[in-house]
Symmetry: C2
């Protein structure tokens, strides 16, 4: 096994920063008036309003070093944050990155993380504006990103969670449950998961769990088509759908056949747990949206929005039953 090389503690803060900046060379810089290296960044804002969101990955709860490379973690952190912008109808204009790490972390890991961040940012055309670097106790590694953006071209207003109305079509921008299925494969087979048949599907599920790359241009596309409500599926279809339902004061009624079709796609790899992956699987980073008419090409219709029944509560309904968001999704602290 090759030596992991020097650690952050051995190189010191300025050494780490030099390495980090080097990995960002050639990354996008559109709109950046002052970049990394001063007290703050200065970013051009064309349209008078800025989208801002933040999301963090923690080693342990959010990734395992035996399954995820540092490059994977960088790519996934970028996708997670840009998906939140897409869910408002926006696109990224800049990222701030914070790394908090134990002194014993290999410098090579931090460097590869930055390469993953740079790769994800270059793919999306989003510059890295700056960041922060902090030491922490043993066993701690976390990557926190703030993503800044603007509404996409020809998008006039942000798409909130609260605009769904009875009669709207409920649709999703791509398959669901892939990340959860990939994780299930890793939990069952460990690093040998890639050799479970059928190969292409398994490879897709593992890749989507480790390094999700969804088409985030679908967010502005949905907004242009008049999406009434939209959310990034990061905590699961039921939990995120429930958020839309509650914010809008409606019920999302899912069609059994549509949900079953999503599960059928996963079944060759994960068998009977496919439905659970579809309903409860987080970290999908596909977009769930409601439309007054047809969704954009390539989206999958999952059901429709209905009015609250008399005395009923907002939520997600499947086959006449209200689904429980507490069991269908992911809670960062709950049991």
């Amino acid at each position: 096994m090759p030596s992991p090389g020097p650690t952050l503690g051995e190189v010191g803060e300025s050494g780490v920063l030099e390495q980090v900046f080097a990995a960002l060379e050639g990354s996008p810089s559109a709109g950046v008036q002052v970049g990394p290296g001063d007290d703050t960044a200065l970013l051009k804002v064309r349209r008078g309003a800025l989208l801002a969101t933040t999301d963090t990955m923690v080693r342990g709860p959010d990734w395992r070093d035996d399954w995820s490379t540092a490059f994977d973690v960088g790519v996934k952190a970028v996708t997670q944050n840009l998906a939140d912008l897409a869910a408002m109808g926006g696109t990224g204009t800049g990222l701030l990155v914070t790394l908090v790490a134990e002194r014993s972390l290999p410098l090579a890991w931090a460097r590869e993380l930055t390469e993953g961040l740079a790769w994800g940012c270059t793919r999306a055309g989003v510059p890295v504006l700056g960041g922060d670097l902090n030491g922490a106790g043993d066993e701690v590694v976390m990557v926190s990103i703030t993503a800044l953006g603007e509404l996409g071209e020809d998008v006039q207003k942000p798409v909130l969670r609260s605009g769904a109305r009875a009669g709207d079509v409920v649709a999703v921008s791509g398959p669901l449950g892939r990340s959860a299925a990939g994780l299930a494969l890793l939990l069952e087979h460990g690093e040998d998961a890639g050799s479970v048949a059928p190969g292409d599907l398994v490879a897709e599920l593992l890749a989507h769990h480790l390094r999700p790359l969804t088409d985030l241009t679908q967010g502005p596309a949905a907004a242009r088509l008049g999406a009434t409500a939209m959310i990034d599926v990061s905590d699961g279809l039921v939990r995120d759908g429930d958020r839309v339902a509650r914010a809008s004061g409606v019920v999302l009624e899912l069609a059994k056949e549509a949900v079953a079709a999503l599960a059928d796609r996963l079944a060759p790899a994960v068998g009977g747990s496919a439905l659970g992956c579809v309903l409860g699987g987080g970290e999908e980073h596909e977009l769930l949206a409601c439309f007054p008419g047809e969704p954009p090409a390539g989206w999958t219709v999952l059901g429709r929005v209905i009015d609250l029944p008399a005395g009923g509560a907002p939520g997600v309904v499947l086959g006449g039953s209200c689904l429980d968001p507490r069991t269908g999704g992911w809670d960062h602290f709950g049991g």
Copy 2:
């Protein structure tokens, strides 16, 4: 000792978020078009460009629970971030807050943290736009903030680190070394530090270490007066001065009497270590700036900017000696 009450793990993510949002009620909201509770925030930007910076506090390296209350941590985190905006000539328009914490953290601590954040934000007129909440392993608590802002009124361009020119006056917006002196008192006397004579000075030093509140309007004021370079003193006078010197390709020549006067102010509390506190003490969050003429009223002149001597390197000089930023300041990873 009263029971610390339920933990984050017992209450779960949605319970924590409810408590957090409650503590932010009545906080500033100017410019916020979409606030916490959707996928991203939407913030009005009046002047076509946005300042963005991020800074993180980690329990252990950055605070100790036996000395700092959660409220203190919240206030300090706000000041740290807004000081970086001030150092560009800017003011805050919004904050994003991330809390990463062990499941066993008392909910009351998270609530009090948020109260400190809200207090600091209200004092500065800056809204909290949103944030993120993450579980982590035992012993981990960290608070990461991203501060967004704009250039202050009548400030035409950001003040960078790189604009200092020979002949400029070097000045600081307030006393230096107070945070380091406060920390030294805590390290020596622990929780009894408050009873060391003379009381008023000691109280000031402890307060500045635990809960720094500098006058951040001095940043835009300095910019309006034509400051050529500026930096927030977060890592120490020598280290931050060295950054300005290197970015500008000049030498900052400090006057011995001016530095001694800053140290004399601390000496009644910390004796012989006062000079070290002034030169190397971080977390001051006063502003260090260079001016082509007089600094604003209330600033203290520390020296002047001189050209690089033939064959010489940029840096900070005191009494003819070049000060070493490695020994004068704080490194997050170095020994």
